[in-house]
């Protein structure tokens, strides 16, 4: 305060003596200095205080210092797990009502150390893996620290390894959790043991060289009966089968976990797994075997011989694609069963096995997130991840499409189509378009999207009288995307998007376009076709509207499409494309072409021969220059969209659709669509 007073006192005395220029100079200087000081102040003090408080809070947080909870010997024991539990009987979905993004909310109880009456700890407070697992959950989108909003609860009591647990006391500890309620909506992780954690990184490099052994067994503790059968297999098939066992003659300092032996030959484990095409996973004391994880990692195809073993995440992972399950009874035939698998399928399985490992098993984090995702899928089945997303390796996922309109259906002609005319204020031309389109037999409704907020549409009496319902929708903003909004008024599956200046299409042409759409209901079916080309000099995409032999886009100034794409355009358009289009007032048609091609993987269908269109591209007020800027803008759109989609989804084709008898030597009056292609 004092400073500013001083300034105020000195200020007026100073100013009259200076020229105006200087005064401005000083005021500017002072304000700059002042601002600079404030900024430095902020930078100096703000982060420091945060950091120090952070340090201070973490300082206290060591696992050894967590609060101790004493469990009285007579504290309640929870009921035994109900084996008949199903998702709908033992899980309360109504706790998951808070779901902003169709994601369950997971709460983690804070860490406590449980001791019994005599002060002896119930278990190891927390293991490294469980800590990693909880950290992964806490870092994910699922986490919430608000217990009232959570639908899934994860106790911080570590039960990963049953062998180290004191069962009764752990159960008591679980029972006293604040929301335990017989374990409803609680998730316990009881992990199948993973291999020794310190792998050789060389393993991470996938190998392509042929594998030496066809079938390998690397488990150490096997029942003698199994070992006998494996031995018989080896005797029968010789070199291609390798059965390994524990090493007996190793010196003390070698870690026996990392070695396997066959007679006197010593092999490094798990590296040896990379040498085999198939690796046996046999039943042990527990069904789940650590070796499965090692085998997957080595890209060896697991041969699971353990009846009634539920493979991990089998609810969502298609293990048929990555493993061979052989009944224990058929163990003797395993070699011939495997021999009958074609080489191509084996390679596929190897890739799949490795992909499963990378995606779902390679870290505690991956396992935790996959588990939560499965539970999430059960709770929000309509937002669940698809089979393809779970199972297809990224290479397939990138190239493949799962067309939402995949069924080979030909919609009935009787339904007709809804024409949507986007207009601003060209009333005269609009009325002509309405009159022309209304002549098309299959038109069932006409929707005018009035994009002009400053002007009301003409009075009802002025509109042309047509035989189908005509509705005018007034929009709130003049945006191009209004053309593709899924209006409730659209009752038919087919939509004809048409500009208010497209008056040159004949009724035959429009009707034929609709017929073509019925045969290709998952494609854009349009009249003027365009092409995208790769410009080698500029190394980017270029828009082309010349007479070409190919076509990859159709203009939506006149195009039929399924109304589902309206929904996709409005709600599922990737990236900022929708806003970009509205901001530039251009390229909504290119965006639609990208969207449809990307989701269906199919090309557009151009119908009927080329004719002179009165379109923005051709009506240019002063021809060439405007035309050229237009082309540049459109090329920019293509490049922008390709970068947002991450790929070029447009498909180039060399065909267009014409009526069967188009230009054939046949009496015109016998043709269904005679009036096609007239200029």
């Amino acid at each position: 305060m004092c400073a500013s007073v001083k300034y105020n006192i000195r200020g007026p005395a100073l100013i009259p003596r200076m020229k105006i220029k200087h005064r401005i100079y000083y005021i500017t200087l002072f304000s700059v200095v002042l601002l600079g000081l404030i900024a430095t102040g902020v930078f100096q003090f703000w982060p420091h205080s945060i950091e120090s408080s952070n340090d201070w809070s973490v300082e206290k947080r060591s696992v050894r210092d967590v609060p101790v909870v004493r469990l009285p010997a007579d504290s309640p024991i929870p009921e035994r797990g109900d084996l008949s539990c199903r998702m709908h009987t033992c899980f309360d979905v109504y706790r998951c009502g808070f779901n902003p993004k169709n994601k369950i909310k997971v709460f983690i109880y804070s860490l406590k150390k449980y001791v019994d009456d005599s002060g002896v700890p119930v278990s190891n407070t927390i293991s490294r893996e469980y800590n990693e697992l909880l950290t992964a959950i806490s870092d994910s989108d699922y986490y919430t620290d608000d217990i009232t909003r959570a639908c899934l609860f994860v106790p911080s009591i570590d039960v990963l390894n049953q062998n180290t647990l004191r069962i009764k006391e752990t159960a008591q500890a679980l029972a006293q959790l604040s929301r335990w309620d017989r374990g409803t909506n609680h998730l316990l992780f009881n992990m199948l043991p993973g291999g020794p954690p310190d792998y050789n990184t060389a393993l991470d490099v996938p190998r392509d060289s042929p594998r030496r052994y066809f079938l390998l067994s690397s488990q150490m503790a096997l029942h003698p009966e199994y070992r006998e059968e494996l031995g018989a297999l080896q005797a029968k098939h010789g070199e291609s089968v390798l059965v390994l066992d524990k090493c007996t003659n190793l010196s003390e300092d070698v870690l026996s976990v990392r070695k396997r032996c066959h007679e006197h030959q010593v092999f490094d484990y798990p590296q040896v797994l990379q040498e085999a095409t198939f690796c046996v996973v046999l039943r042990g004391a527990r069904l789940g075997q650590a070796v499965l994880s090692d085998v997957l990692r080595a890209g060896c195809v697991p041969v699971v011989i353990a009846d009634s073993y539920i493979l991990p995440f089998s609810e969502v992972l298609d293990w048929k694609r990555a493993s061979v399950v052989v009944p224990e009874e058929k163990m003797a035939d395993v070699y011939s069963i495997l021999q009958s698998i074609p080489q191509r399928q084996i390679e596929e399985m190897q890739r799949q096995a490795r992909w499963f490992w990378e995606a779902y098993f390679q870290s505690i984090k991956a396992i935790a997130l996959a588990t939560l995702q499965i539970i999430n899928d059960r709770i929000y089945p309509y937002a669940a991840i698809s089979y393809e997303e779970w199972n297809d390796p990224p290479t397939v996922k990138w190239g493949s499409v799962s067309n939402p309109l995949f069924l080979p259906l030909i919609p009935p002609q009787s339904q007709g189509f809804t024409a949507i005319v986007l207009t601003y204020d060209r009333v005269e031309s609009l009325f002509r378009v309405i009159t022309e389109v209304s002549k098309v037999p299959s038109l069932s409704k006409l929707l005018v999207v009035w994009n002009n907020q400053n002007k009301s549409p003409p009075e009802e009496s002025l509109w042309p009288k047509i035989r189908v319902p005509l509705k005018v929708v007034r929009t709130a903003e003049n945006k191009l995307s209004n053309r593709f909004f899924p209006y409730d008024e659209i009752e038919t599956e087919a939509v004809l998007a048409i500009d208010d200046d497209i008056i040159m299409l004949t009724s035959d042409e429009l009707q034929f376009g609709y017929e073509v759409w019925r045969e290709f209901p998952d494609r854009l079916v349009g009249y003027p076709g365009r092409l995208h080309l790769w410009d080698h000099e500029m190394s980017k995409w270029k828009y082309e509207s010349e007479w070409t032999n190919e076509v990859s886009m159709v203009l939506t100034g006149a195009a039929f499409y399924h109304k589902y794409f309206n929904y996709l355009y409005t709600y599922k358009m990737p990236g900022d494309i929708k806003n970009w289009v509205d901001a530039h007032m251009n390229c909504e048609d290119i965006a639609m072409n990208f969207l449809v091609a990307n989701v269906t993987g199919k090309a557009v269908i151009k119908v009927t021969p080329r004719k002179k269109f009165k379109c923005p591209e051709c009506t240019a007020i002063d021809g060439l220059s405007l035309d050229q800027t237009h082309m540049v803008e459109r090329s920019e759109c293509i490049n922008k969209f390709a970068s947002v989609f991450g790929t070029m989804p447009l498909k180039v084709v060399e065909h267009r659709a014409d009526p069967v008898l188009y230009k054939d030597d046949f009496p015109e009056k016998l043709k269904s669509f005679p009036n096609i292609g007239s200029l």
Binding site: V63, N102, R128, D145, A221, D318, K320, P408, A657
Partner: protein, 665 residues
């Protein structure tokens, strides 16, 4: 003046420093919270000693466990490995023996048995069979006989179309049970097979296509239809707010309540309670392909094949009285996806007709083990019954899955020229075809009494003559010499230009699952005679293309040779003209789409007399009707369009056009 200015500068600096220190600092102090900021989630703490924590597995404790004894197979909990002997099926092929029904059987049972007896799996010798089929649908009291060769039920499949008929009369032991709507209590996953409960009028072969004609739900459709106890349907409110998340649905005894036995109302989802009597409704709901929301207690999947998170299971497991989970649809929920999965089950196969066939296919898949159908083949059109695992187990080899697999057809084709009894060596045709840049090889199927000429024209591609096939159906034999996916099927009489071949092949690459041809026929229903007919007169639409010049995928050769029922194969031998019709039926039944016509520059009528309409004798005319009867329905679909090159007959310079050869008048 100068010093004064400097002075004022210093003063100002000092002043601002003071201001900065005294004014801002306390404010900052206030602004900085002392602890972690409230509001943001705290998360799991980062322990200082996280690195020092012990692993849950002690180093001394080996990951390997103590060995365990093998479980003895028990009758009660049979699984595939223990209770089924596959050795016979491997050595002798998959043969099915059907016990003759002792008692008068139901209509449905009769149809199913007849269908199996007509299939390629059937055998009359019980010793040769790998699977013994026994039906248990006789009225109670008449089914106590244990059949001969029962052998504890091993390798037996007991078919029980109606729940609980003949239950408990004798121990089923190791026999598999294919039962309509079994319950989870008795179902042995991976061993038993769940069937849908069929209405008596269910067609055995073919069957009508689903009633669904639309990809997306109609905007006016109700959200939920509930199956009523007496056989009717009740439509619940369209308004999703009736089923809020945290409570039960408000009991809305909506205005509409249909009569018992009435057709399904127009609704997006349909709720079928877990009563046995309502199992029939499941199929009813699938036909128009609604999303079915089931209440618990059902096995839905057919032997575990339809295991994707499909619509039938979308709502499975609601507590009774609640709406299905899908009820409160978020505003942006994908409106078509749910319906679609359903369609597949409705259209594709599992729930549709051909029940005996898919039942056997499921069991054959188990025998094949690793080389069985991948689930993609079961779950996407055309379904596992039309994607033969004997052809390939890789989806990439079939014409149907290119897009799903992110691949595209290769850019080469094999020309297959059939030279019939009157044919001359098609020298001109060979030159025209060999001129195509996409041609990989030419195979001449010489089926003529005269020996083939010793010398053939010099071509850029390998030319191979295959002799000795007399039957017309041999032209669709999957010759091992065919090295490409695409086949151009030709007759010695066909005349094509290189331009036409090139363009047709490029079109085929866009539609690899369809036939792409030049000359067309269309089918029609002959009201006067009450049967199907077909005509080659050029009309405005078509539904078949002639195989005398057509591109298609080589998989259709396998399908033609190995999947056609015996009766249809005999028909093909008897009436040579019929092979065209048969092939078109086969492809249309698999794709449910029309073939594609491309322009032919020449007047083919003049060039190919034997295949022209007027000459069709009565046997040939009859052909389509008999094929339709054999298929059980009419799969052909009509098209009204032809695919032309983009600049076809456009008023531009011919030099701009890529396929100039097509422009000749």
């Amino acid at each position: 003046m100068q010093s004064c200015r400097r002075k004022s500068l210093w003063l100002a600096l000092l002043a601002s420093w003071l201001l900065g220190l005294l004014g801002i600092l306390p404010l900052l102090r206030l602004a900085v919270p002392t602890g972690p900021r409230a509001g943001a989630p705290q998360g799991w703490p980062r322990w200082l000693d996280a690195e020092l924590l012990q692993s849950f597995l002690q180093p001394g404790e080996l990951p390997e466990d103590a060995p365990q004894l093998r479980r003895a197979p028990r009758g009660g909990s049979c699984d595939w490995g223990a209770c089924f002997d596959t050795s016979k099926c491997r050595s002798g092929g998959f043969k099915v023996f059907v016990y003759p029904a002792a008692e008068p059987t139901s209509e449905m049972q009769h149809k199913i048995l007849a269908s199996i007896e007509g299939s390629r799996y059937h055998t009359v010798s019980p010793t040769e069979a790998c699977l013994h089929l026994l039906t248990l649908d006789a009225p109670a009291g008449a089914c106590s006989l244990v059949p001969p060769k029962w052998n504890g039920g091993k390798n037996h499949l007991v078919l029980r179309l109606h729940p609980a008929s003949c239950s408990g009369t004798f121990q089923l032991g190791w026999a598999m049970v294919a039962e309509a709507s079994p319950t989870v209590d008795t179902f042995r996953p991976g061993f038993d097979v769940a069937l849908p409960l069929l209405p008596e009028a269910h067609p055995v072969r073919g069957g009508a296509p689903g009633q669904l004609r639309q990809h997306s739900p109609h905007p006016g459709a109700a959200l939920l239809a509930l199956a009523e106890e007496r056989g009717g349907w009740r439509v619940a409110a369209t308004d999703s707010s009736a089923c809020p998340w945290d409570g039960h649905c408000e009991q809305d005894h909506g205005p509409e309540q249909t009569h018992p036995g009435a057709a399904l109302p127009n609704a997006t989802f349909c709720l079928i309670p877990g009563r046995r009597a309502d199992a029939l409704r499941f199929l009813q709901a699938l036909q128009p392909s609604l999303g079915a929301a089931l209440l618990r207690g059902y096995r839905l999947d057919q032997g575990g094949h339809c295991s994707r998170q499909e619509a039938p299971t979308a709502g499975a497991g609601c507590p009774p009285g609640d709406a299905p989970h899908a009820g409160p649809r978020p505003a942006s929920a994908d409106p078509v996806s749910v319906g679609h999965l359903l369609l597949l089950s409705g259209e594709g196969h599992p729930y549709r007709p051909r029940e005996p066939a898919f039942l056997l296919q499921i069991i054959q898949d188990r025998i094949l083990g690793a080389s069985a159908h991948p689930s993609l083949l079961w779950n996407s059109p055309p379904g596992a019954l039309l994607a033969l695992p004997t052809f390939s187990t890789s989806p990439l080899d079939f014409p149907f899955y290119y897009l799903q697999q992110g691949s595209r057809p290769a850019g080469r084709f094999s020309a297959l020229i059939w030279v019939g009894a009157t044919g001359q060596p098609p020298l001109k045709l060979i030159q025209a075809v060999a001129g195509s840049q996409h041609c990989a090889q030419i195979l001449v199927l010489w089926s003529n009494d005269k020996p083939p000429p010793p010398s053939w024209p010099e071509t850029a591609v390998p030319l191979l003559v295959i002799e000795g096939h007399r039957k017309v159906s041999a032209r669709f034999f999957p010759h091992s010499a065919i090295s490409t996916d695409a086949i151009l099927s030709l007759d010695a009489h066909s005349s094509l230009s290189t331009s036409e071949v090139d363009f047709a092949f490029v079109v085929w690459q866009s539609f690899p699952e369809r036939m792409v041809g030049f000359l067309t026929w269309s089918h029609f229903w002959d009201e006067a005679q009450g049967r199907w007919g077909y005509t080659a007169e050029r009309v405005n639409e078509f539904s078949m293309v002639l195989t005398s010049a057509a591109f298609y995928h080589r998989y259709y050769h396998t399908l033609f040779t190995h999947s056609l029922p015996k009766a249809l194969r005999r028909l093909a031998e008897a009436a040579p003209h019929c092979v065209d019709v048969l092939m078109n039926f086969l492809v249309a039944a698999a794709t449910k789409l029309p073939p594609i016509k491309v322009p032919s520059g020449r007047r083919h009528e003049d060039a190919s007399p034997p295949r022209v309409p007027g000459d069709l004798g009565p046997a040939a005319r009859d052909c389509i009707d008999r094929v339709a009867a054999g298929f059980g329905h009419m799969p052909l679909v009509s098209s009204r369009l032809r695919l032309d090159p983009v600049l076809f007959k456009d008023p531009v310079s011919v030099l701009r056009k890529k396929y100039r050869g097509l422009e000749k008048p």
